[in-house]
Symmetry: C2
Subunit: 388 residues, 2 copies
């Protein structure tokens, strides 16, 4: 089985771009990825495209062929939809496609338009990631769902809103030099604490923003990279996927995310590593509590210890395990269908040393990305390693 | 590389079931598939689920976990969306998953609710399979798009509405004994010719109906089938996928479907067979002209010859190459996200001799399924063979 290399990555600016379409943004990110990889687009054998809410946002389904067309690619193209984990799942399928020998060169990514929707506002559109029959019709929104999870965490393990304010402060700090980030602005613990509530105990700075953007990358087989002398020193060495019941009411846990535990376990086993081997992580911090849940699910911290990690400095840029050096969903932004792919693009740049925050982790060789859908009903986890 | 066997299949009735949800229908089809395969559901390692318009139809995205939950399965679950080829693409990905050695037992299928939609009527909802910016906003509907293709076919190759009426008559005839079919009713060429126009030259009996339904199957590795002594004599020996530009205006051809040609070529090469080796086919006859285009794209007939095939008797149940012995989309019905999987389920039953029309093809050993999305912008083709 071949190892899959990241040959190039591209991002659009993440932000408020109501004049943009998903296809235009994916075209921009994809062009950047192709240029970064230094390949000809005719080499691309398959396109894997993540998008979540195109039906509601742009009155557009069937976006696989549109994604290929946006880049002038003539190859089979498939759209993946796993809510906020859409492009994480697309990356996983692309990795398996290359590993199986079906293709040597693929393009994978995602795009989302969220600020100028055709038939819903963003909160309504996001709600289709939850269970319509058992949650949405009862009035559940995503801030509300994560508020329940945060309350459950506080009840079970302790911790405080102030612990989570440190997560927001850290991620904003990490995004300060990220030219692709929606927010390049410092915040303080006090500012986060005093921000208006969205759904108690979640306040404004606990929540990621509504973002337009796209991300794309070129994945190639090791043989192709070597034969074509590509600059592709980072490999995706592990992939895992997990699912849980969609509705919170059907879960065994509110303050644990078994779908992420399963995906992490599978990815570690696939790569032949342990959590202890990981140098840095990009995790799905759609709300600050989600970062705490993620770093526990991935085995970096005992349950109940994740919430204090940013405050203790364990996960800051100068900590033992920097988390979300990109700025995370919180500060970089969260264009839903693009997020999973953007995490992999950022991680590859961190490991190869071309990221704005790479100087903070000069010796990092192993990174993890964690992309979650809904209230972590779907999760895709990937392990990236420097291999040469 | 292991061969992938079809261990069991299940269908709901295809028809007008406005009281049903996709999840309930998929539960019914999946239970039937699990029972047919004779396996325990805890053996299932992954769920591949096709759905097209759940966002508009049921205000529900993120249906992968719902599909698994409907069957009490704890395994990673992914939703695939390629318009009307959604579950054909899901089958392809499931086949590749088993071939790669990632899994020995998977469940794949699809479901669609189309008669009781949350936020659109069916014509509006189906339109998101076309290009919103360049087709839908200009007033294009799917009957209109296929009318353009049919006109182009008549202009380029000749043929007539009466030729196509024979396709409808044949497919209704094939569905007469199909207990899962929406229409178990004979029609005549005269009735089809005299039916009201939908979008000239397409009249009522040229168009498939609006259908609720689900389909599912269990696919297993050859090793698993043998080790567990499963009754699984049919293998999926070839898979192919093709894409084209989404909008008709961007195509090189209106009276040809290159995405199906590409998918067919890939599937034949994958199986190591030619079109000449095929004994029967289930093709995507969303409109009667689509059947003509399909059987030409798959290499069964020269261009211009496909339209007369039903009238000549080449593709009738007693012909050289029976097409759509299930009744096809035309008479069996077309619950969009379920159609590709249902074609594979019907084909497996035809080849193993358990289908209501199996007596018409006692010596058939090789079948092809052809599932198309939009105006054939996405296509999944599979080859099924009796292997023991």
């Amino acid at each position: 089985m071949t190892r899959v290399r990241v040959a190039g990555g591209g991002l659009t600016h993440f932000g408020v771009h109501p004049e943009q379409t998903s296809r235009a943004m994916f075209g921009e990110a994809g062009e950047a990825a192709i240029e970064d990889a230094g390949i000809d687009r005719t080499e691309i054998e398959s396109v894997f495209f993540g998008n979540f809410m195109g039906e509601l946002g742009e009155h557009q389904g069937h976006m696989g062929p549109i994604a290929a067309e946006a880049l002038g690619i003539d190859a089979p193209a498939t759209r993946y939809e796993s809510a906020c984990a859409s492009s994480g799942v697309a990356v996983r399928q692309a990795v398996m496609n290359v590993r199986s020998g079906e293709a040597d060169v693929v393009l994978v990514g995602g795009a989302e338009r969220m600020n100028n929707l055709a038939t819903a506002d963003a909160t309504d559109a996001l709600a289709i990631a939850a269970d319509d029959l058992y949650e949405v019709r009862a009035g559940m929104t995503f801030p509300g769902a994560y508020a329940l999870m945060e309350d459950a965490y506080f009840d079970e393990y302790g911790g405080s809103r102030e612990d989570l304010a440190h997560v927001a402060v850290k991620n904003h700090e990490n995004a300060l030099e990220n030219e692709y980030a929606q927010f390049q602005a410092e915040i303080s613990v006090e500012k986060a604490m005093d921000a208006p509530p969205v759904a108690e105990p979640i306040h404004l700075y606990d929540a990621c923003p509504i973002t337009d953007g796209a991300a794309a990358m070129i994945l190639v087989s090791e043989e192709y990279a070597e034969a074509n002398d590509l600059d592709a020193e980072v490999a995706i060495t592990g992939t895992g996927q997990g699912s849980d019941r969609l509705a919170l009411q059907d879960r065994d846990y509110l303050a644990r995310t078994p779908a992420a535990e399963d995906a992490g376990d599978e990815a570690y086993a696939d790569a032949g590593i342990d959590a202890d081997d990981v140098d840095l992580a990009e995790v799905h911090d759609c709300f600050t509590v989600a970062e705490a849940l993620a770093i526990e699910a991935l085995g970096f911290f005992e349950r109940g210890e994740g919430i204090g990690a940013a405050r203790r400095g364990d996960t800051t840029a100068d900590g033992d395990l920097p988390v979300n050096l990109s700025g995370g969903l919180k500060a970089k932004g969260h264009p839903v269908g693009a997020t999973g792919a953007s995490q992999v693009v950022e991680m590859a740049k961190l490991l190869e040393g071309t990221h704005h925050n790479a100087a903070a982790v000069p010796n990092a060789t192993v990174g993890v990305t964690h992309n979650a859908g809904g209230t972590v009903a779907s999760t895709a986890v990937h392990i990236l390693e420097v291999v040469e």
